[in-house]
């Protein structure tokens, strides 16, 4: 565990941790990102900063993370293996540490085909599990991937994602175990809309005792409109939204209010599931509702760390 990370502390002291998510803009003006960070200041332990999410060019996640550090907030920078090889990633991680960043989330990343540079060359030098292992070895063994020695020390809290809604279903737990072995200290899951499937997955996780080896944070996204629900269902890889949920939203007069209700209820249920150590709220383009969700879910005030 990383000594400096607030997120690690929150997860390890048994409180149900809360993290938010910020998407850097398609430009260098980050006032809005800073504003959104301020909005959640008292409601989350840390903020994921996405790394060119859905393969769309955006301001660097490490740069935005450094700005958050200056604001006295704690970023979790995401690193995808799509755009950088092992040389660039290790170099960027050292830079991130130098800038005061303490949490790193390792992902594969959406294929470049989905973004705004579909003609680009995908790097994929390493995969997300190898990324974890490489960064664990850099921290714990102080060696680079190529075997060279690191000068001095680095410290960070390593996380990974897992998608209980992807296939093959049974293998998703094996894969979680592999990520723990590779160095994941915390796991954030894909957005949970299908609670039944999530519960089934958690059962398998508990059978193997994996919830004791890693801190699992359930991913929650408030749905803003029917359009957003349909978009996610059909266009975002790795997300499943059950028809019953779509129907519930369709039947509701005020979609936004119902979207929030669903998010709050999901968190309340997650709190009851053994082995779930926190929630990761992804309210991209709807950041201002995070405080309300956290409060209504009974997670406010946040513990003093």
């Amino acid at each position: 565990m990383s000594v400096g990370s607030r997120l690690a502390k929150a997860l390890n002291n048994g409180s149900f941790a809360v993290t938010g998510e910020l998407g850097p803009p398609k430009g260098a003006g980050i006032d809005q990102l800073k504003h959104h960070a301020e909005v959640m200041r008292n409601h989350v332990e840390a903020y994921n900063i996405t790394d060119n999410q859905t393969a769309i060019v955006r301001t660097s996640s490490i740069a935005c993370g450094a700005v958050l550090v200056q604001m006295g907030l704690e970023p979790t920078i995401q690193i995808v293996v799509r755009d950088r090889n092992r040389i660039a990633i290790q170099s960027d991680v050292l830079g991130a540490v130098a800038l005061g960043i303490k949490n790193i989330l390792c992902l594969a990343g959406d294929h470049q085909k989905f973004g705004n540079e579909p003609q680009s060359k995908g790097v994929y030098d390493i995969d997300s599990i190898q990324l974890l292992k490489m960064l664990k070895d850099l921290r714990d063994e102080r060696v680079f991937a190529g075997g060279d020695k690191l000068e001095g020390e680095v410290d960070y809290f390593l996380g990974a994602v897992e998608n209980p809604f992807a296939d093959p279903f049974e293998y998703r737990v094996d894969r979680l175990e592999k990520k723990i072995k590779a160095g994941a200290g915390f796991i954030q899951t894909q957005c949970i809309f299908d609670l039944e499937r999530f519960k089934k997955w958690m059962e398998l996780v508990r059978e193997r005792g994996l919830h004791k080896k890693v801190k699992i944070m359930g991913g929650v996204t408030p749905i803003k409109s029917m359009g957003a629900a349909k978009y996610m269902k059909n266009n975002v890889s790795g997300i499943t939204i059950p028809d019953s949920l779509i129907d519930r939203l369709r039947g509701a007069e005020n979609k936004k209010a119902e979207g929030l209700n669903i998010a709050v209820e999901t968190i309340q249920q997650l709190k009851e599931i053994e082995g779930v150590a926190g929630v990761h709220i992804m309210a991209i383009a709807w950041e201002e509702v995070v405080p309300e969700i956290v409060e209504r879910a009974g997670l406010y005030p946040r513990p003093q760390l």
Partner: protein
Amino acid sequence: MIIAKRKPLDQIMEMLAPYNQICVLGCGACVTVCMAGGQKEAEELAALIRIHRKKENRNGRVESFTVERQCEYEYIDQVLERLKGFDIILTLACGVGPQTLVEHAADLLVLPGVNTTSMGYPKEQGVWVERCLGCGDCILHLTQGICPITRCAKSILNGPCGGSAEGKCELGQDIECAWHLIHDRLSALGCLDNLSEIQPLKNWSVSHHGGPRTTVREDVRVERGE
């Protein structure tokens, strides 16, 4: 085999515009089998070029013939003199063909008539699938014959990624998730354990990323001129 596809006719006509003595050169190897650049395709393309040029009132000569393998000097030698009588050779071989021609006879001028797409096989009539990237360090023993370097869009070694759904890759319904296939195959063979170990970082230096590769077999080499 190597799979190729003929370039769009517009592009071919445009490339040929400055020339009058045109040879459409087929290859008897892979491109014959994948119906992109064998004798038949070379003749057809030559006929199309003639029609096009007639419409444009261009004089000149368009001929077609085929070399058994454009990627070997000894076969090129059989037609070399004939090739020298043209001012351009539109080759329908894979990308290796035109390069072998000019390395062997620097005064030949070549144009590519096909786009070389992949190494693979015909899955059904008219459908060729990619199966090998030539990464230089085969791992098919780990996956029992399914290559994730080639068939997974992210070349993942510890798959599948979070985008895999119902056996399909996140790239689309027409692409199978290689790691789903690997999982199912190993599971059926009772060796799912193969996947529990973390596969280490791949050595890409033996692939094209290490620079163009020369394969040497000392035991079969002959000194030139001997």
